[in-house]
């Protein structure tokens, strides 16, 4: 177990809330917002997040009254349902020192869009703001708040990184995962020109406009392959499932893990997203 925490470094922080952030408690009580995709599809990402948070010196709780952040409704224009889900989620996430999600997209929803959703409801907006100001994407929280450095993680792979759009552009998550990965033993990171370009997931977009989505992810995969990497890491399961799912269908040798799994030293124990690419001959269950 490692706890390499010191005072937060405002100069390195990306979240606006840090500008006037209160001091970090000795053992911060963190609510893990698991996210619906991690809960259903890939619990190992959630457990990796818990391990990293605990290693960083946090006490982790998983509030029971959480399901999904409501982004599918919000982005589909269904504000009414988005507000109802947001109201419930805000209630579940109040009372903690921090809220952390292993996803830039869901953290962005809570941090950026929840306050906007209640702009016409001042009491609710105040609660939304309070939760938003304490909400972080996992890697940004580990670096900017906890000043955490992973110890002992080993990953002998040639890796490329995919910046998910919400994390990058809504929350400014860019250098934090790379800073954490620089302490992983055995790993080489090679970046392409398109690390910041959308993979074509886009939530419901990928099933509403599959042909455009697939054209986008194909470009993304080609760029990843051109870096010489055989592994892609990222901070958002949606993007990674999209990339891995298409790579498997094309028979391209790119394996995807959530960055938390590598940092927590779990990537050698859990299969990559969508199974292993080795020996792939287009099989799979029907």
């Amino acid at each position: 177990m490692c706890c390499c925490r010191a005072a937060p470094l405002p100069s390195r922080c990306s979240n606006r809330a840090m500008d006037h952030a209160p001091p970090v408690p000795d053992t911060p009580h963190v609510a893990l917002f698991v996210t619906c995709l991690v809960d259903l599809m890939r619990p190992s990402t959630g457990f990796a997040a818990v391990k990293l948070l605990e290693d960083a010196g946090c006490r982790v709780s998983v509030p029971d009254q959480q399901t999904c952040c409501g982004q599918p409704a919000y982005n589909a224009g269904d504000r009414k349902d988005a507000r109802k889900i947001a109201r419930m989620t805000i209630g579940a996430l109040e009372g903690f020192d921090y809220v952390v999600a292993p996803s830039g997209s869901c953290a962005g929803m809570i941090k950026v869009h929840y306050p906007a959703l209640f702009a016409d409801d001042p009491p609710m907006a105040k609660r939304a703001e309070a939760v938003a100001s304490r909400t972080w994407e996992l890697t940004a929280f580990l670096v900017d708040v906890m000043r955490y450095k992973p110890m002992g993680a080993q990953f002998d792979e040639q890796v490329t990184y995919h910046d998910s759009c919400s994390g990058l552009r809504e929350l400014g998550v860019k250098q934090q995962p790379r800073a954490l990965l620089s302490d992983v033993e055995g790993m080489a990171l090679s970046e392409g020109d398109s690390a910041e370009i959308c993979c074509g997931f886009g939530g419901l977009f990928c099933v509403k406009y599959p042909d455009i989505s697939v054209a986008m992810v194909d470009k993304k995969i080609d760029d990843m392959v051109s870096t010489g990497a055989t592994v892609v890491l990222g901070g958002d399961l949606g993007c990674l499932m999209n990339v891995a799912g298409r790579a498997r269908r094309r028979g391209v040798h790119i394996d995807a893990w959530h960055v938390a799994e590598v940092l927590a030293g779990m990537a050698n124990e859990v299969e990559p997203i969508g199974g292993d690419s080795d020996g792939n001959s287009g099989g799979g269950a029907d």
Binding site: R169, P210, D211, A285
Partner: protein
């Protein structure tokens, strides 16, 4: 030429994705404008401060649009010109036609104008016996091919060099059939020779305007070809078409916007030509038109001004959002079915054409936000796209199946215990069905995903189910 095909977005998309020629051209797109823009901005440390200043200028204008438009009109009149206020496309067309008829015009030279495209002026003039000749190289090429533009600053970007050569060989029939048209330079020279005669013979010059300057009554134009100056200066009559939000208060403000415009558009510090044109020829001028008309178009913009979409009226048509849009890069401009493609088009088009025929435009986006990150006017494009989706949802334009699907899902999402029951069962079932490969090639009702992608199978029991049984540790456990 600018026939509206927005309703056919899906079909347009399919054919664009299957068009190998187009895909080859689009494949090179990302290496052009975005790279040059990044280099131009790296050279200008105050770029972000200029973006703020440019945004503030336009916000101020939009707060005070009426007074500035009136000031502009007064200054145009004072300098000997006329302003024509046009409510919609039809009024704009009729106004241009009547000016042309008064001038006994047979030929109209035209520099690039998105407002000209918006009101479809070329077809209209042709139908009325007047020949419009596009003088911007890209516009000239697509006019020869009778195609609509596929980009707001590079209208022929969808074409390869070879396609242009074929077009020139076919349309410039009086030239030697076996001439070499290998290099773009040779084609440019050929187009220039063809156009030179048109410039000299035209009765009316029809231009757009990048900005309208209220304090002087000037129009500002930018180009790289010099064709605008010949279009505006040589014929007896000059008509500038512009939409009402093009106004800026002062020349100083125009200069601020010019500093972000070319850098955002083509990565140039400045366009090769920047002109400020004020009124017709004065008695001591050596040249210039005898008449100067500004056709001011509203066409739905005052409604946008009063709506939650006001921010789109800050757009200066640089094309940066389009140049950085991965959806545009995949499908090109024609797929959008009208003249404004990409993110700015996806916001503006429903505002100008109505949301019934443009329902795909706000939805065919991942909201990745790259457009907003490069917009020199800091227009919150993803947010505006989402606002159109909200309007569609409210107006029940969103397909019924999607609406009900969302409602059912949202019901479960609001009831965690019920939700848990479903996900718990679902995770186990899909885990079991996932087989040895840990992924699905087909799954009922998931064709949108599995037609071209494998779907990763869940790992087993859901996180929440496992967490409940986690032995107590240092952490806080369940709440």
């Amino acid at each position: 030429m600018s026939q509206i095909k927005t309703e056919r977005f899906r079909e347009n998309t399919r054919s664009a994705l299957a068009d190998r020629q187009l895909q080859a051209v689009l494949g090179k797109f990302a290496d052009g404008f975005p790279v040059k823009r990044a280099q131009a901005i790296a050279r200008l440390p105050e770029f972000d401060a200029l973006r703020d200043a440019a945004r503030d200028i336009k916000n101020h204008v939009l707060e005070n649009l009426g007074p500035y438009l009136e000031q502009f009109e007064a200054q145009v009149i004072a300098s000997g010109g006329q302003v024509h206020w046009c409510r919609d496309a039809e009024e704009a067309r009729q106004t241009v036609l009547s000016i042309c008829k008064n001038a006994d015009a047979r030929t109209v030279t035209k520099s690039k104008s998105m407002i000209g495209e918006e009101v479809d002026i070329n077809d209209f003039l042709e139908d009325n016996g007047i020949e419009p000749v596009e003088t911007d190289l890209g516009e000239y090429i697509i006019q020869l091919r009778r195609e609509p533009p596929s980009h707001i600053i590079a209208p022929a970007i969808h074409l390869s060099k070879q396609q242009v050569a074929e077009t020139f060989r076919e349309k410039h029939a009086d030239r030697a059939a076996d001439r070499s048209l290998e290099s773009p330079r040779v084609m440019l020279d050929e187009a220039r020779e063809e156009l030179r005669e048109q410039f000299l013979g035209a009765d009316v010059g029809l231009s757009g305007a990048n900005m309208l300057v209220a304090e002087t009554g000037s129009i500002a134009t930018v180009s790289n070809e010099g064709n605008i100056e010949l279009t505006c200066g040589l014929p007896r009559v000059h008509i500038a078409m512009a939409s009402i939000e093009k106004i800026v208060p002062t020349l100083e403000d125009a200069a601020t916007i010019l500093r972000v415009l070319a850098r955002s558009a083509t990565g140039q510090d400045m366009s090769v030509y920047t002109s400020f044109i004020t009124g017709p020829r004065r008695p001591d001028d050596l040249d210039g038109p005898e008449e100067f008309h500004v056709v001011l178009l509203d066409n739905g913009r005052t409604e946008l001004l009063a709506s939650e979409f006001r921010d789109i009226l800050r757009c200066i048509r640089c094309g940066a959002c389009i140049n950085h849009c991965p959806v545009y890069e995949a499908i090109g401009g024609h797929a959008y079915g009208w003249i404004y493609p990409g993110p700015m088009g996806a916001v503006l088009t429903p505002g100008l054409l109505g949301m019934e025929t443009t329902q795909h435009h706000p939805n065919a986006s991942t909201l990745c936000g790259r457009c907003e990150s490069v917009c020199p006017m800091r227009i919150p494009l993803p947010d505006l796209l989402r606002k159109w989706r909200t309007r569609q949802f409210g107006a029940e334009i969103t397909p019924t199946a999607s609406r009900y699907g969302l409602k059912v899902w949202a019901y479960f999402a609001r009831h965690p215990h019920l939700y848990r029951l479903i996900t718990k069962t679902g995770a186990i079932f899909l885990f079991a069905a996932g087989g040895r490969k840990r992924r699905f090639r087909h799954l009922p009702f998931a064709g949108g995903w599995t037609d071209a992608r494998d779907l990763p199978a869940p790992q087993g029991r859901s996180f929440m189910a496992q967490w409940r049984q986690r032995p107590p540790r240092r952490s806080g456990g369940r709440l």
